[in-house]
Structure formats: structure tokens, C-alpha cells
């Protein structure tokens, strides 16, 4: 069974239809890349999948592990293992990173009827994961995303993914704003999280990322529909010829 199945998905924001019917199947362990011009609806798709308020589904369905999730609140979907690494991570002034991460993990554990994490073990675990992503202890002490540089914010998203261990992760332009070294660190972090039970949707503008995180499939989103799907070579074509050089794309 697929991890994520999107069937004829239509969605509107403020009464404007942005997604005009999207079909997509992601099988266990697969990584799919989504590319597409600015404003084509990539972030919109990620918000619709994760259940953000104000994004109204006007047609179709979304199945996670075979079950429809469109009537579920965002937090319920998250606790089922759906994770979104934000294109623009949000600052939470005053909220310490540690208490935020702990609240998130405990919410997930409660859902699975497991015991909440032990404080000490938790701090150890966070530090270990953070180290892999080049996140300093000092950064962990700060308020969530407050005063982080663009690249730091992106690493912090992947740290959260590593801690929350989702079954379906959506990475929205996690590569934008990363310098060359950071791109490598983050990609390695993501690759470490690849396993036969975890699927990913990687939204990006650049082939560069896809040479690190090698996708099983590539889709081009254009004007709210999937204009073309192919294997990793499709990303190379985009890189060379731009979207206008792709058949059927805008």
C-alpha cells in the first residue's frame, strides 16, 4: 500500500482555486521531487496536505497509509506521522527550543500510548541529533527560530524531522538559503533518514539538491497541475532548458 495517495485534489485559498486536480502516489521508502515555477502551487500543496486552516479542499482526497485525512485537524495529521519542513520557518519568541521539541515529541508519544520522554535522555538525544546537523548547543538554548539565520532555520527543520521520525515528510525548499557546505550536511542528514518505511516529497528549484538526495521520481507542478512526471533525469532537463523547455509545462 502507498504511504501517500493524492486523488484529483482541488484546493482554494480565499475563494481562488490554486490546485486544479492533482494525482500522486508515493510508495513506502520512495523520495519524490516536486519542481515547478514560482507561484505554481508547491507550497500550497504542502499546506493542503498538512491541513493548514484557510486552505479549502474543493475536490478529491488525500490518503495517508490508506486512510483519508482530509477531515483531520493539522495536529492530528502530524501525530499520524506527517511532517512538513517549512519553506519559511516561523519564529516563536520566548518559547525555548527544548520545551518546544519536548512538547512535540510528547504529543506524538501520547498518541501512541507510550510514556513521555525522560528529561535527561531527551536532552542527550537532541544534542546528538543536533551535532550531526552542525547545530550548536547554544542554538538549542535559544527561542524557536528567533534570530536564526536562514540556513540555521533550515537545519533546525531537519533536526525536528530527525526527532519526530515521520512516515511522510514534505521538505519545502529546504535547500534555499543554504551555503554549499550546509547543503551537503543537510542532504546527508536527510539521506540518513531515508529508510524503507519513510517516504518524502522534496520540493526544490535546483537539480543541485537532487544530486545529493537522489529522487525516485520527479514531478513538475505548473499552474496547479502536475504537468509532467519522470525519473531523476527530468530534473536535469529542467536545469538545462528551464520549464519552458519541458513539454506541456508553462
Amino acid at each position: 500500500m502507498s504511504i501517500l495517495e493524492i486523488r484529483g485534489l482541488k484546493a482554494s485559498v480565499d475563494g481562488n482555486e490554486i490546485l486544479h486536480g492533482i494525482d500522486l502516489i508515493v510508495n513506502p521508502g520512495e523520495v519524490h521531487a516536486i519542481m515547478g515555477p514560482n507561484g505554481s502551487g508547491k507550497s500550497t500543496l504542502s499546506y493542503v496536505l498538512s491541513g493548514r486552516a484557510g486552505y479549502e479542499i474543493t475536490g478529491g482526497d488525500i490518503l495517508l497509509n490508506g486512510n483519508s485525512i482530509i477531515d483531520m485537524e493539522a495536529d492530528v495529521r502530524a501525530r499520524l506521522g506527517l511532517f512538513l519542513a517549512f519553506q519559511y520557518p516561523v519564529e516563536l519568541p520566548g518559547v525555548s527550543g527544548m520545551s518546544f521539541l519536548r512538547a512535540a515529541i510528547n504529543a506524538r508519544l501520547r498518541e501512541e500510548n507510550q510514556e513521555e520522554v525522560d528529561q535527561l535522555a531527551f536532552v542527550k538525544m537532541v544534542r546528538a541529533e543536533a551535532k550531526k546537523l552542525g547545530i550548536s548547543d547554544e542554538m538549542l538554548k535559544r527561542a524557536v527560530n528567533v534570530g536564526f539565520s536562514g540556513g540555521e532555520k533550515k537545519r533546525y527543520e531537519i533536526l525536528q524531522m530527525a526527532l519526530l521520525k515521520p512516515i511522510m515528510a514534505i521538505l519545502d525548499e529546504t535547500d534555499s538559503g543554504l551555503d554549499v557546505d550546509a547543503l551537503k550536511i543537510v542532504s546527508e542528514g536527510v539521506n540518513l533518514l531515508r529508510n524503507p518505511y519513510r517516504s518524502m516529497l522534496v520540493i526544490t528549484h535546483y537539480q543541485r539538491l537532487l544530486s545529493h538526495i537522489i529522487p525516485d521520481k520527479v514531478h513538475i507542478l505548473s499552474n496547479g497541475v502536475i504537468a509532467k512526471s519522470g525519473d531523476k533525469t527530468l530534473a536535469l532537463q529542467v536545469e538545462e532548458n528551464g520549464y519552458s523547455g519541458i513539454d506541456d509545462a508553462a
Binding site: 498538512s50 491541513g51 493548514r52 486552516a53 484557510g54 485537524e73 493539522a74 495536529d75 502530524a78 501525530r79 511532517f83 512538513l84 517549512f86 520557518p89 516561523v90 519564529e91 516563536l92 519568541p93 520566548g94 518559547v95 525555548s96 520545551s99 518546544f100 512538547a103 512535540a104 504529543a107 506524538r108 498518541e111 527561542a143 525536528q160 519526530l164
Partner: protein, 483 residues
């Protein structure tokens, strides 16, 4: 810390939205409704007070009759019928208690439900409690241990009899009898409260705490607290308050006076959770309180920390009169309003002494259709050479229908004084909430996280034993404020 956990589960167990809304079924003795000189004589007699005390009360009452009700705040208040209130109510069993063992088990059970075990074995380590139920103090714990250190901690009614010289010297010395309408009323009819005396160079070995509970219908609570710390002494004191859920408004007009002499320090913390009324503003406590500290000696320090989550209307301005050279006044406040609650709260820092310093950190959180006003005065007088104040006033809005207001008054009569004022207003954004939700955190927990982050600077000033409870309380107060 064990007791703190108990407290939280006690909060969770209690039913209803306002978790302290139960009523204790206990026989009580009440004065007839109404306010006149006979009622005041009745109270004074009930308390076996000396003549001077009665005279003082009557003088206050006569002042009060001539005073107009204040109307300068940003509050809209239903008219109060001062003759429709019982000014004295006491649990029948509460007379002349010598030890906790004599306290009515119903009362002990009430305080346990509130998370305040009066049984000394179960108590928070290092915290002595005075429990005030309606008009009288029902229990004071750890008295022996305190008296060994020379610290007096007892009901004020007892202090009037046992330590008349101290009471005469200091009562009304910080807040004069005719200071304002509600304080004058309190002087006339106050029934109980706590008295603390810390002698020279003594660091009070325990946290002191008073727990106020209004139980009876149609009663007012007029408690009176007086804390005196002699040269070089130190005390940390905490008060907590709750009341049952009632449809009519109940008046709570307390007066608290603090006196810090040379090098003395008083840390006064409040966790106020009186019944706030329902969403439409029916019922709830009118919390009209006058609190003032006098930093009388050089280098003395008074620090007010308050977490105000309850009451239909809160009207209070814990203040410092900084008379001593290099004296220090601090005010740390978190005021949460939800539903139809109104709060008009802040502080006054009156600088008289050379080099005196004050800090004001105020965090207002408004949700529902509530109104939350910070009102604060910083006054630097002529003799206050090089006085300094720093004020930070932050407001956080949850939802679209509430209001936050900041009304600072600044008076500077000495050009060497330095006053800094910073203010911000922010809103919990949909983006922030979604970010939390996407991590699996429920909406309520998300609001609680963000709000507790917002008021962290103030919460860290609370005694550790109470910080967790206060955090939880803020979360509960904001339940149902979004979505």
C-alpha cells in the same frame, strides 16, 4: 516538588471550566447584610479588639462615607450595593484554634482540593501557610519553627491583640486611612489577613504563604496584610486566592502594606485566581485591591510579582514608595484576561530617595472579548538625585475581539533622573499556531507554550514551588480562547 505535582492533579481533577468553583458545605456565622457603625462594632467585638482599633475603623468608615467611588479606570463596573453584602462570615468551628489538628476536616479537605494541604507532613517543604476562609484565618502552619527564628507569622486579628505596639506603629503608615475609596472601606471592615514581622538581620527560614478563599454567598472579603522587615532582614511571601462559582458579583477589597527598613528585603508574590465570571460577564469577583510597599530604609528593596488570571474585574496597582537612599522597587506582572474579564493593573514607583532604582516588567495577555490595561506611574521627585527607572510593557493578543491598552504616566521633577520606557504589542499569529500544530502540538498546548514563553521573564521571579502551578493556571485560563 511532590506537592507541586499534587497541586496540578488537584487542578485537573476538579470539574468545570473554573476548576475552583466548588462550594464547601459548612456551617457559618454571618453578620447581617449591610454596612453601618453597628456592623463595624460587631466585627470589632467578634475579634475582641481593643478600643483603639474600633476607633480607627470608625474613623475610616466616616471618611469613606464622604468619598466618591473612583471612576478614572478603564473599567465598566456594574454599580455595587454596599448594603447587600455580608461584611463578616466565619466557619462556625473556626474559633480559637491551637493546632492544625483542631481545624474542621471539611476545611482541610477544601484546601486540599485547592492543592494547599494544611497538614504539615504533606506541605511543600519550606513553605508556611496561613489559610484565610471567608473572613477568618483558619490555620497557620509551621508557627513553631518560625518563632525559633524570631519571625512572627500570624493572623492580623491575633497580632492586634498580641503585638499592639507593632500594629499601632505600622498599620496605615504606608496606606493612610483615607487613601482611596476601597482602602478606606477595608480599614472600616477588614476581618482578617496575615501579619508578618521579621526582626533585625533575620532571613526568614521559610517561604511564607497565605491562601485566601471566599466561600459564602453575598460576602465580601476584606483582608488586611501587614509585613514589617527590620534592618537587614529578608522575607519571601506568597498569596493565592480562589472563590466558588457564583452568579452574582462578589467584592474583594484587600489592603496590603509592606515596610522594609534599612537593608531589608521583601519579595511579595501573588497568584490570583478568583472566579472570573462566565463568558458573558455574569458573576465573578471584583478584585479592588490596594497594595503598597514603603522602602523606608537605605538600600531596602521591595519586589512585587503577580500572576493575575482570575476575577471579573481587577483593579490593583502594587506600588513602591522609594524613600531610602539607593532603595530598589520592582514590579513583575502577568495579567491574563479571557471571556468578558477586565483588568486595569500596573504599579506606581514613587522615587524620593537619592539613587533609588525601579524596574517594571508587565506582560498583559488578552483573549476572548476581554480588556486588559496596564496603568503605571513613575514619579521622580526633587530629592531623588540620579534615580532610575526601566519599564517594559508587553501586550499579547489572542483573537480579534479583545483589547490591550498601555497608559504610562511619567512625572520627573529632577533632571538627573533617568526613565526608560519600552512597549510592544503582538498577536499570536495563525502562522505560529500552524507551526506548532504541524509538530503535533494541540492548539491549547500551543497557546500555552507561546504565552508562557511570552511571560517567562516574570515567571522566573516566582518562588520555584509555585512557578509550575502558575504556568498551568495560565494555560487553564486561556482554554477555549482560540478556534
Amino acid at each position: 516538588m511532590v506537592a507541586t505535582v499534587e497541586t496540578i492533579s488537584a487542578v485537573e481533577e476538579a470539574t468545570g471550566k473554573y476548576k475552583y468553583g466548588f462550594v464547601t458545605d459548612i456551617a457559618s456565622e454571618k453578620a447581617p447584610k449591610g454596612l453601618n457603625e453597628d456592623i463595624i462594632r460587631f466585627i470589632s467585638e467578634k475579634k475582641s479588639e481593643p478600643e483603639w482599633m474600633l476607633k480607627w475603623r470608625l474613623k475610616a468608615y466616616r471618611h469613606w462615607l464622604k468619598m466618591p467611588e473612583p471612576n478614572w479606570s478603564k473599567l465598566s463596573i456594574e454599580p455595587i450595593d454596599y448594603n447587600d453584602i455580608h461584611y463578616y462570615s466565619a466557619p462556625k468551628s473556626a474559633e480559637k484554634l491551637n493546632s492544625i489538628a483542631d481545624v474542621d476536616p471539611e476545611l482541610i479537605a477544601t484546601y486540599e482540593k485547592l492543592g494547599i494541604p494544611l497538614n504539615e507532613q504533606k506541605m511543600l517543604a519550606g513553605v508556611a501557610v496561613d489559610a484565610v476562609f471567608d473572613s477568618v484565618s483558619v490555620a497557620t502552619t509551621f508557627r513553631e519553627e518560625l518563632s525559633k527564628a524570631g519571625v512572627i507569622f500570624c493572623p492580623i486579628s491575633e497580632a492586634i491583640q498580641k503585638y499592639p505596639e507593632l500594629v499601632k506603629k505600622y498599620l496605615g503608615s504606608v496606606i493612610p486611612v483615607a487613601d482611596n475609596y476601597f482602602s478606606a472601606l477595608n480599614c472600616a471592615v477588614f476581618t482578617d489577613g496575615s501579619f508578618v514581622y521579621v526582626p533585625k538581620n533575620v532571613r526568614c527560614p521559610l517561604e511564607l504563604s497565605t491562601y485566601f478563599r471566599i466561600n459564602e454567598q453575598n460576602t465580601g472579603q476584606f483582608e488586611r496584610t501587614l509585613i514589617i522587615v527590620e534592618d537587614g532582614g529578608y522575607v519571601s511571601y506568597l498569596e493565592g486566592c480562589t472563590a466558588p462559582q457564583r452568579d452574582e458579583n462578589q467584592l474583594h477589597a484587600a489592603v496590603v502594606e509592606l515596610v522594609a527598613l534599612t537593608d531589608a528585603e521583601i519579595k511579595y508574590s501573588t497568584v490570583q485566581n478568583w472566579y472570573p465570571g462566565d463568558e458573558n460577564g455574569k458573576g465573578g469577583i471584583y478584585n479592588f485591591v490596594t497594595k503598597r510597599g514603603s522602602c523606608r530604609g537605605d538600600r531596602s528593596k521591595i519586589s512585587w510579582t503577580q500572576v493575575e488570571t482570575g476575577s471579573a474585574i481587577t483593579w490593583k496597582y502594587p506600588s513602591c514608595v522609594l524613600r531610602g537612599k539607593n532603595s530598589v522597587g520592582e514590579f513583575y506582572s502577568v495579567a491574563v484576561t479571557n471571556g468578558a474579564q477586565q483588568a486595569d493593573t500596573g504599579t506606581k514607583m514613587i522615587h524620593l530617595g537619592e539613587g533609588s532604582k525601579s524596574t517594571i516588567i508587565s506582560k498583559g495577555i488578552s483573549a476572548g472579548k476581554s480588556q486588559n490595561t496596564y496603568r503605571g506611574l513613575v514619579e521622580i521627585n526633587r530629592g531623588a538625585e540620579s534615580a532610575r527607572n526601566f519599564t517594559q510593557c508587553d501586550s499579547l493578543l489572542v483573537g480579534q475581539l479583545c483589547g490591550a491598552h498601555t497608559v504610562p504616566y511619567i512625572v520627573s521633577r529632577n533632571p538627573s533622573g533617568k526613565i526608560e520606557h519600552e512597549a510592544t504589542t503582538s498577536r499570536i499569529s495563525e502562522e505560529q499556531l500552524f507551526y506548532c500544530l504541524q509538530r503535533g502540538i494541540s492548539e491549547e498546548d500551543a497557546v500555552s507554550l507561546i504565552v508562557n514563553g511570552f511571560c517567562k521573564e516574570v515567571m522566573k521571579e516566582l518562588p520555584m514551588e509555585f512557578a509550575v502551578e502558575a504556568q498551568k493556571l495560565i494555560g487553564i485560563s486561556l482554554e477555549g480562547s482560540v478556534g
